[in-house]
Amino acid sequence: MKITHNKNKKGQMKIQQMVFMLMAVTLLFVLVGVFFLSIQLSNLKKTASNLEEEESMLLVSKLANSPEFSCGNAFGTSRTNCIDFDKLMALKVKANEYADFWGIAKIEVMIIYPDNGEISCEQSNYPDCGVIEILDKNVNTQAASSNFVSLCMKQVTDTKIYDKCELALLMVSAEDKS
């Protein structure tokens, strides 16, 4: 009787040990899973930001040739990466209507040669200015993706009207969601 009772107790102990062991291992795996999931979730916002950055990079490489920006045939033959300064100034006025059109947070064009400083372009000082802010949603933005463009306009002297193109940088920034 005593021997059977002892054997049962030992067996129970063994089962208890096994249960504790299984619980510990399960807990360990659960903890690992939770840790992994928390990292994945924290990276989700970063991934969203990266996707937006990629989108802005793709956009900046084709934006200059879109109808809203491109020179078309206004300066002789059709040119690539050519932005019509007059179109930009008109677009700047209507920027609010285009706020969600491109799906990005900020678009600006900076004249880099000749250096006109950082004077913002308005109807009053056009074309003697350096930065044309097309769109600004006033949110936190990522580093801008940029592309070189030629910014062209019609100029008038006493004797003639001629085409003048300057070197500019088209900059596009996506919203920083991280």
């Binding site: 510990a24 690992v32 990466n81 040669y113 250096d115 940029s146 030629s150 193109c165 070197l167």
Partner: protein, 163 residues
């Protein structure tokens, strides 16, 4: 003797537990390694170099011809033929100063900048019309070229940007 057997079993179980912990740790480390492997962002993009050449060729210079101010592309052709601007200045002199200023404005070379150096050249066939190098030539670079033909000559404008 019996006690020794119990200790031995306990030791075996501990070893088993440690093996599981080590295995889980290795899996965790591998996963972390994959996650922390950040994609390196390139500082200079292909399209930037290509677009720079295109935009630069369209730039309107100070060299006035009969009807208009010449673009850099036209100025390259005028320089090759050895002609002068309306104000008497040699087209090659205007081309040299314009190209230098344009390239310096576009690519800022210094230790803090992403751009470590560049190599720019304009050729007409085998003849070099203009060349400019600055900074260091590193193993990482992005390059582009654009060619055009005018007055039976083919001109090639090439730019390599080192980062």
């Amino acid at each position: 003797m019996r006690l020794r057997g119990v200790y031995k079993k306990g030791q075996e179980e501990m070893v088993g537990f440690i093996v599981i912990v080590v295995m889980v740790s290795i899996i965790l480390l591998v996963l972390l390694g994959f996650m922390l492997k950040s994609s390196s962002t390139e500082t200079v993009e292909d399209y930037e170099v290509e677009s720079f050449i295109g935009a630069m060729l369209q730039y309107t210079s100070n060299c006035e011809a009969d009807l208009e101010f010449l673009s850099v592309q036209d100025l390259i052709v005028e320089c090759h033929t050895g002609s002068s601007c309306l104000d008497g200045e040699k087209s090659c002199d205007v081309l040299n100063s314009t190209l230098k200023d344009l390239i310096k404005s576009g690519w800022n070379v210094n230790d803090q900048s992403a751009v470590k150096g560049y190599s720019f050249e304009v050729t007409a066939g085998d003849t070099s019309i203009f060349s400019l190098q600055a900074g260091n030539k590193t193993s990482d670079y992005k390059g582009a070229y654009q060619d055009f033909s005018k007055r039976s000559s083919t001109y090639v404008v090439s730019l390599d940007v080192y980062y």
